[in-house]
C-alpha cells in the first residue's frame, strides 16, 4: 500500500491552519456589521464555502471530461473525490445559509435562485454518488458517473436561470469588492484555507478510491501486471 501523499497532508494542515486564523480574525478582530451585527460573521465561512463548492464541482466536471477523453483511471479517482467534496460543501452551504437566513429574513429557507440551485446541485450530484454505489463493474461505474456528471453540470446554469425567472430575493454576491475593507482579510484567508483543505482532502480521497479500484480490478489469478494506468479495452461482465 502506498503511503498517503505528503503534499495532500501538508495542504490539509495548511488549510486547517488558515481557517483557524481567518475564523479567529472574523469572529474576534473584525468589527461587527452595522445592520446585521454578529449574524453577519457567518459570511466569513459562508462565502468561501460557496466559492469552493462551485470550484470543487467544476473540478469534478473537468475530471469527467478528461476521463471520457483519455480513459485514464486517475481521472475517475479524482472525479469520485471531487464529487463527494462538492456535495459536502454544497450541503454545508445550504446549512450555513439557513442559519443565517432565520435571524435575517425570518425563515429557514427561501426559494431564491442561488439557494434553490445549490439544493438542486446537492440532489443531482448526490444522486450520481448513489449511482456509483450501485454499479459493481468499475468500468461502467466510471463511464456512467462521468456522463451523469457532465449532464448535471451543464444543467446547473439552466436550473439557476429558470429559478431566477421564477423568483428572486437573495442579496447580491459578496466579494472582496462589495464588502468594506475591514472584512477583506478574514474572507480571503478563509477562502484560501477552505481551498487548500478541500484540495488536500480530494488528493487523499482519490488515493483511497484508487486503492479500492485496484482491489476490485485485481485479476483472480496471480498474473504479473503493471499497475493499470489505462482502462481495459473491453468492459467487465454485465
Amino acid at each position: 500500500m502506498r503511503a498517503p501523499s505528503v503534499r495532500s497532508i501538508a495542504l490539509v494542515a495548511l488549510g486547517a491552519a488558515l481557517l483557524l486564523v481567518g475564523s479567529w480574525w472574523g469572529l474576534v478582530k473584525a468589527p461587527g456589521e452595522v445592520f446585521m451585527g454578529d449574524v453577519q460573521r457567518i459570511m466569513y465561512v459562508h462565502v468561501p464555502t460557496a466559492w469552493n463548492a462551485m470550484l470543487a464541482l467544476t473540478f469534478a466536471f473537468v475530471c469527467a471530461l478528461f476521463f471520457l477523453l483519455t480513459n485514464a483511471w486517475q481521472w475517475d479517482d479524482r472525479l469520485e473525490a471531487a464529487m463527494e467534496m462538492g456535495v459536502v460543501l454544497s450541503l454545508l452551504l445550504c446549512m450555513q445559509g439557513s442559519i443565517w437566513a432565520k435571524p435575517t429574513w425570518g425563515v429557514w429557507w427561501d426559494w431564491d435562485p442561488r439557494l434553490t440551485t445549490t439544493a438542486v446541485m446537492v440532489f443531482a450530484f448526490g444522486g450520481i454518488l448513489a449511482l456509483r454505489a450501485f454499479v459493481d463493474d468499475p468500468v461502467k461505474r466510471a463511464v456512467w458517473s462521468s456522463v451523469a456528471c457532465i449532464v448535471a453540470f451543464v444543467d446547473v446554469p439552466i436550473v439557476y436561470f429558470s429559478v431566477k425567472w421564477w423568483n428572486s430575493l437573495h442579496q447580491a454576491q459578496s466579494t472582496p469588492q462589495t464588502v468594506s475593507s475591514a472584512f477583506h482579510w478574514p474572507l480571503r484567508i478563509n477562502a484560501f484555507g477552505t481551498l487548500f483543505l478541500w484540495v488536500g482532502l480530494v488528493g487523499l480521497r482519490a488515493q483511497v478510491a484508487a486503492l479500492r479500484r485496484r482491489g476490485e480490478m485485481a485479476p483472480p489469478l496471480p498474473e504479473k501486471r503493471k499497475a493499470a494506468g489505462r482502462a481495459p479495452v473491453t468492459g467487465g461482465a454485465l
Binding site: 440532489f123 450520481i128 450501485f134 463511464v143 451523469a148 444543467d155
Partner: protein, 221 residues
C-alpha cells in the same frame, strides 16, 4: 435516417403490442391527480390555481415508469447487445428510443389533461398553446430520461436511481412547464408565456444534443 425511423418504429410497435402497460401508466397518472386533490381539500378555486402543478407532477411521476420500462425490455435476453451489433450507430438507437419515449409521454400528457379539467375545473380553450407546452415539456423529460434510464436499468435499485438522477435535472422543465400551463389555464395578462416556452425549448435542445453525444459511451461494452 432510415435506421432512425426503424428504431423509432420498433419502440412504438413494442409499446403498441403491450398496450396494457401504457394503460396502467395512464391509470397511475390519473390516480396521482386524484390524490393531489385530497392534499388540497375540496376548495375548487385552490384546486384550479394548482391544477398545472399537479398535472406536471403527475406526468413526471408517471414518466419514470414509462422511461424505465423502455429499457427494461432491452435488458431481457440481452436484447440491447443485439441492437448494438446491428449496422446502426448507438446515436441512432438513442434518438429512436428518445423519440418513442417523447411520443408516449406527450400522449400520456394529453390523456391526463381531460382528467385535470374534470377534477380541478381547469378548462381552457387555448388548446394549441397547451399542446405546445406538453410537446416541449415532454421533449425535455424524454431526452435526459432516456439517457439515464439506459444507465439505471442495468443497476441494482433501478426503481430508486432513475427518479433520484432525473428529478433534480428536470427542475427547469417542471418550473417552466407549470408556469406556462398555469398561464394557459388562468390567463396571461403580462404575456409571460413566450419566455417560458423559450426556456422549455432551450432545455430540450441542450439535452437532446448532450444525450446524442454521450449515449454511445453509456452503452459501450
Amino acid at each position: 435516417m432510415k435506421a432512425l425511423f426503424v428504431a423509432f418504429r420498433k419502440d412504438l410497435l413494442l409499446q403498441w403490442r403491450g398496450k396494457t402497460q401504457a394503460v396502467a401508466i395512464f391509470a397511475f397518472g390519473a390516480a396521482t391527480l386524484l390524490l393531489f386533490s385530497f392534499a388540497i381539500g375540496p376548495d375548487s378555486s385552490a384546486l384550479r390555481q394548482h391544477a398545472a402543478g399537479f398535472l406536471w407532477l403527475g406526468l413526471l411521476l408517471a414518466s419514470t415508469l414509462s422511461l424505465a420500462e423502455s429499457f427494461e425490455r432491452e435488458m431481457e435476453e440481452q436484447a440491447l447487445e443485439g441492437l448494438l451489433l446491428l449496422p446502426a450507430c448507438a446515436r441512432t438507437l438513442y434518438y429512436g428510443k428518445a423519440m418513442a419515449n417523447w411520443a408516449q409521454l406527450a400522449l400520456l400528457g394529453m390523456a391526463l389533461v381531460p382528467v385535470m379539467i374534470v377534477l380541478y375545473d381547469a378548462g381552457t380553450l387555448r388548446l394549441l398553446s397547451l399542446l405546445a407546452v406538453i410537446l416541449l415539456g415532454t421533449a425535455g423529460l424524454s431526452a435526459p430520461g432516456t439517457l439515464h434510464a439506459a444507465m439505471t436499468s442495468q443497476t441494482r435499485a433501478r426503481q430508486t436511481l432513475l427518479p433520484l438522477l432525473l428529478f433534480p435535472l428536470v427542475v427547469p422543465v417542471l418550473l417552466a412547464a407549470v408556469k406556462a400551463t398555469s398561464l394557459v389555464i388562468l390567463g396571461d395578462p403580462m404575456e409571460q408565456f413566450g419566455p417560458w416556452i423559450t426556456l422549455l425549448g432551450a432545455f430540450a435542445v441542450v439535452h437532446w444534443s448532450l444525450g446524442g453525444l454521450l449515449f454511445g459511451r453509456v452503452v459501450e461494452d
